[in-house]
Every structure is written in C-alpha cells, then in structure tokens.
C-alpha cells in the first residue's frame, strides 16, 4: 500500500498532560495497523488538534488524557471542529478522564454528550480501539477496503 493511500489519524495528549508512554505505543500500534499517524505528542491544546486535522485531512482525532483534568480539557472540542468545518470528524477519547475513582458508565455518558464518538476506560486493549476505528470508518464510507 502506498503512503498516500493511508487514512490519516491525529494523535495527542490533551491539555497540560505530559504522559508520553502510551502515546508512543499508540503511535506504534496504529501505524502497524496501516494508518498514517500524525502524532502531536503531549501537552496539546485543542486548537492544535483541529489545525492538524484540517492540514492533513485526517479522518479521526484520538485524544488521550491521563491526568484527571480531562473533563475541563476535552469540553468544547466538538464545537471547535464544527466551527472549523470538520464537524463530522471522528473524535475518540480515552484515559483517566476524571479525578478519583468514578463509575465509568457515568464518565462515558458525560463524554458522549460532549460529542465524542468513542470513550475508553483506562487499560483498554489497543486492539479494540483499532477495531472500532476500522468499523467507524467503514460505516462512514471512509474505509480503505
């Protein structure tokens, strides 16, 4: 498969969060699954996600938040995407999204309401993220098959 054919995916750790390990592994795994990863690394503000998605014509933004501020940091990203004309882009979010041990179902509901398409709990298998991504892209007619 040529590089230009590969679907582009934006990856980054949002806000003031500097957890880099999972980010590096996610880049490795998603690349290995056949996507082109635009990895913004850690400490990424919302506008950088949006800008990178526009510049690269990415089909999905994968937001990680490991440090508990996710609720504040992630709010409004869907709105920004809409304003920038990429309102239908896939938004995934995962990690330790809130401070303290909370019922994940409540957390998930909250982030779904914020406009995220998929919400992952800590320790999710990366294979599941890849599968979800393939399925969601396929449903939207963006699949490579």
């Amino acid at each position: 498969m040529m590089q230009q054919e590969r679907t582009k995916v934006i990856l980054g750790v949002i806000g003031a969060d500097c957890h880099a390990v999972g980010n590096k592994i996610l880049e490795h795994v998603i690349t290995a699954a056949g996507y082109e990863v635009v990895n913004l690394g850690v400490l990424v503000p919302q506008e950088d996600f949006v800008n990178a998605a526009i510049e690269t014509d990415a089909k999905a933004i994968l937001v990680a938040s490991l440090y508990g501020h996710g609720e504040i940091d992630c709010r409004g990203l869907r709105g920004r995407c809409e304003e920038a004309g990429i309102g239908d882009i896939l938004l995934y979010v995962g990690g330790n999204l809130v401070v303290g041990k909370t019922d994940f179902h409540e957390v998930k509901e909250k982030f779904l309401e914020m406009g995220y398409n998929r919400v992952y709990e800590p320790g999710v298998l990366l294979e599941r993220v890849i599968e979800d991504l393939q399925q969601d892209l396929q449903e939207r007619g963006l699949s490579r098959d």
């Binding site: 500097c18 850690v42 501020h69």
Partner: protein, 483 residues
C-alpha cells in the same frame, strides 16, 4: 545568560527575583526575612529535612504518599487523613498540572469549578494561586513534615511561595522536571530556572534554614535502567549542591527485580557520595528515596496490593530512607483518600516486618552494583568531558549527543534512542544502547542478557518485546513473555 554550574551571586539572584515574584499577584506577599523567622519556629517533628536525617541515622524507611486537591480545607483534611489513618511518616503536597505549566489562570478556573462541583477538578493543590497565607494554613493545620511534589519546568514562583509558606522540602530539578514533564522547553532554560530554585534554598541555608531538595528520580517511570536515572540524579545533586543546597535526597524508581533494585539504591548512595565529595561538596547530607513501581498497574485492587507490597519489600531490604507509595487505585487514576491510606498501610506493614531483617550483599547484588556503577561512571565522566569540566553545560551537550538519554520521554530535547527491555530474570537492561557512552564490555553484557531472554522466548528482541514489558506488570507478570 550563559549557563554554567557556578553558584549564583546574590546580585545575579536578586536581579531576576522581582520578575519571578511578579508572575502572579500572590508573589507580592513573599517576604524572605519574615519567612526565615517562620521557618525557625517549625518544630523538628514537622521538619522534613530533619526527619530524613533522623531516619537515615536510625536505619528506618519512611513512608510518603502522593496527594493534593484543589481547595485548602479539603487538602488539609486529605493530608491529615493520610497521616492518621494511613500512618504516613512524611506528607506531600502534589501540585496540579496547570500550575506545573505556569497556567495560573486555568488553575484559578479549576479552583472555582471545584468549589461549584463540590469535588476537586484539579489533580493537585494550586499553591501559587492560594499564595503564602493559603500555604501556611496547610502547614499549620497538618500534623507532619511536608514536601512540595510537582513536575514543573519553571518552578521559581512556586518555590518562592511554598518555601516562604513553610514547606521544608521541594522536589524537582532542571533535568528531571523537564525531560519527563515538558515537550519543547530547552534544558538550558530549565536548568537555569532550577538553579534559581536551588539558589533560593541555598540562601535559606545561609540563614540557617535547612530545606530538603529532591530531584525526581524515576524520570519517565517506564523501564528506566538504573544507570540512566542515577546519572541524572547525581548531576542534579551536584547542580543543587553548587547553589548551596545542603540536604539532598536522590531517588530511583523500582524496576522489579529484587537484586537490581537493592543494588540500585546501594550504588546510588555510594556513587553520589563519591561524586559530591570529589567535586567539592563534602558537606551535603544525602538520603535516598525508592519509588514503588511507576509503570502500569493491574486494575484489580488485590493484584495492585501485590505490586505495592513488592515495592515496599524492596525499599525496606534496600534500606532506602523513604519510599513513595502507590495505591490500589493506581490503574484507575487519582485515588480516593481511603485507597491512598491503604497503600500506605500495606507498605508500613511490610517495612515493619522487614525492618529487623538485614539483607547482606550477596554475589548477585554486588555484581549488579558493579555494573550500575560502571555504567553510571561512563555516562557521568562523558558528561563532564563534554562540558569541559562543567556539569551544567555538559548536560545540555550530552542530551544533544544522546550521552544522556531517557526512554519514552515527551521532551524534544532527549534523543529517545535508547530502548530498554527486561532480561530473562526481569532486570531492566538495554536492547538498544543508543548513544550511551558505554565500554564494549558493558555493551556486550547488555547484548548477552537480551540474547539470553530472546533465546528463552524463541523470538528476537524487538519493539514488541518492549511493549510487552511495559504492560507486563499490569497484566500480572514481570517479564512480558509471548504466549
């Protein structure tokens, strides 16, 4: 400014101090002379630096949690709970991530949102926003020695406010609070900013006030080989000592193999003493901190207790001066105060049960000490050489050259060329040496160790092996074997 490992003059320091205190309105309340008087009245039992010295003398290992929330009263309650219910010897104040990025407006917003929500929306205590008076409320309401723990590349204002507020210990350093905590802040800048913090502690020392300084030992907390973090720790110790710091705690994050972990603490102690002495700082008091496993934890709490216990056992057998404690909620984010107390109590039980059991140096431990020391010397001596005898300049050059290198770091200023993996016994080795200035003997040693494991597993060492190792403990094993 030209970065040099040279004690700042008072003129140098005070030339930029006004600017630092102006970074946020609360800086105005800092009054050094008054702060010195305040410190003079802190009793020994609440004095972090003094408690460490006492523990070292008595061969005890002290427990310390991580903890911090947005609001003052809630923070006080949290710390007192960890002291009484968790039996913590030492207490922290973990600073929130906005403050760490000097985003004080966002921190203010977090305080307000936390008040409205009735729970902390910040992952730590925004000490700059609370100011000297707010900090003192904590100091005076909490019955134990207190340290600031954070991850702040530019921690000058935070240092001014918390030390004036009465904290007697301050974590961080120009390397260890940059490479794992920043993306695009240069080492020149963070080392310079941390010279400010160290000089501040040094000026307190000139006024007879002892404040403990602790570089952040575990770095990225992910399979960091002992020599890599030891080199950074010892450099930061030297940089601090040059600025007049007298009470230093050097740290190491548990790797998981008992012999390597015990050896790491012994080697760190011995090497740091030697380098500080040889470079002109014989009057520092050195203590050690052992961090329980900093990588991924099992989600299951019972399994997490197992990981915590093993860290406690290694800390106790290594006779580290203190141990930083994880909680059974580790895999799930920031713990409840109850979970935090549980981690402390499990650790306390292990430390006490092992306190009477000496662990004499076995052949296995001694040979790990030897290899860690040899590796660390290779790195440190090359750093010194690259800096033409200046560890600050050498550090900048060494990171650029990959002579200093930290795996899995977010910073652009580390080459990220080295790749660690476990050997067949679970000790952390390097499967890619990168540009580390190791002798051929040492390179061969690592290669042999990796080959031994690869052969046992019937596969080649690869990035997949590294990934397997990163997730192994959270999946219930030490070495990430294929199935």
């Amino acid at each position: 400014m030209e970065l040099k490992n040279k004690k700042w003059t008072h003129d140098q320091f005070y030339a930029i101090r006004g600017e630092v205190l102006n970074q946020w309105p609360t800086g105005a309340a800092v009054d050094f002379a008054e702060a010195v008087k305040y410190h003079e009245n802190i009793p020994a039992k609440k004095h972090f630096a003094k408690q460490l010295v006492k523990a070292k003398k008595n061969g005890r290992t002290l427990t310390q949690p991580r903890a911090g929330v947005a609001l003052i009263n809630e923070h006080i309650n949290l710390l007192n709970f960890l002291r009484t219910e968790g039996e913590a010897d030492l207490l922290p104040t973990t600073i929130d991530s906005y403050t760490r990025q000097n985003q004080y407006a966002e921190a203010e917003n977090g305080i307000e949102e936390s008040k409205r929500a009735g729970r902390s929306l910040l992952n730590g205590f925004p000490a700059v926003n609370h100011g000297v008076a707010g900090v003192r409320k904590v100091i005076e309401s909490v019955n134990g020695p207190l340290q600031v723990r954070h991850g702040t590349p530019d921690a000058r204002l935070l240092g001014e406010i918390t030390l004036a507020g009465g904290y007697t210990a301050y974590e961080g350093g120009g390397i260890s609070y940059n490479i794992p905590y920043a993306k695009s802040v240069s080492l020149e800048k963070t080392i310079y900013d941390w010279q400010y913090c160290d000089r501040l502690v040094g000026i307190y020392a000139e006024h007879g006030i002892e404040i403990n300084r602790e570089p952040f030992g575990p770095l990225t907390g992910t399979l960091v080989p002992p020599s890599v973090s030891h080199a950074v720790a010892i450099i930061e110790g030297i940089l601090a000592a040059e600025q007049g710091v007298k009470n230093i705690t050097l740290g190491y994050g548990q790797c998981g193999n008992l012999f390597q972990d015990i050896a790491a603490i012994k080697a760190l102690e011995q090497l740091a003493e030697e380098y500080l002495n040889n470079h002109g700082y014989p009057d520092c008091v050195l203590t050690t901190v052992f961090h329980q496993w900093m990588g991924g934890f099992p989600q299951d709490e019972a399994k997490a207790f197992g990981v915590i216990s093993w860290g406690a056992a290694a800390a106790a057998l290594a006779k580290a001066t203190k141990v930083i404690v994880k909680t059974p909620h580790e895999a799930l984010g920031i713990p409840t105060k109850e979970a935090n107390a549980q981690g402390l109590k499990t650790t306390r039980q292990l430390i006490n049960m092992l306190a009477d059991q000496p662990f004499p140096l076995s052949i296995e431990v001694q040979s790990e000490i030897d290899i860690i020391k040899a590796e660390t010397r290779c790195i440190l001596d090359k750093v010194y050489e690259l800096g033409n005898g200046d560890f600050a300049q050498g550090t900048v050059a060494a990171f650029a050259a990959g002579v200093l290198d930290v795996p899995f770091a977010p910073s652009r200023y580390t080459l990220n060329k080295i790749l660690p993996a476990r050997d067949n016994h679970g000790a952390v080795r390097l499967f890619d040496i990168g540009n580390l200035p190791f002798t051929q003997d040492i390179i061969d040693f690592h290669q042999a160790k990796m080959n031994e494991r690869a052969k046992a597993e019937g596969r080649n060492a690869s990035f997949q092996m590294v990934i397997d190792d990163i997730y192994a403990i959270s999946k219930g094993r030490l070495v990430g074997r294929p199935h």
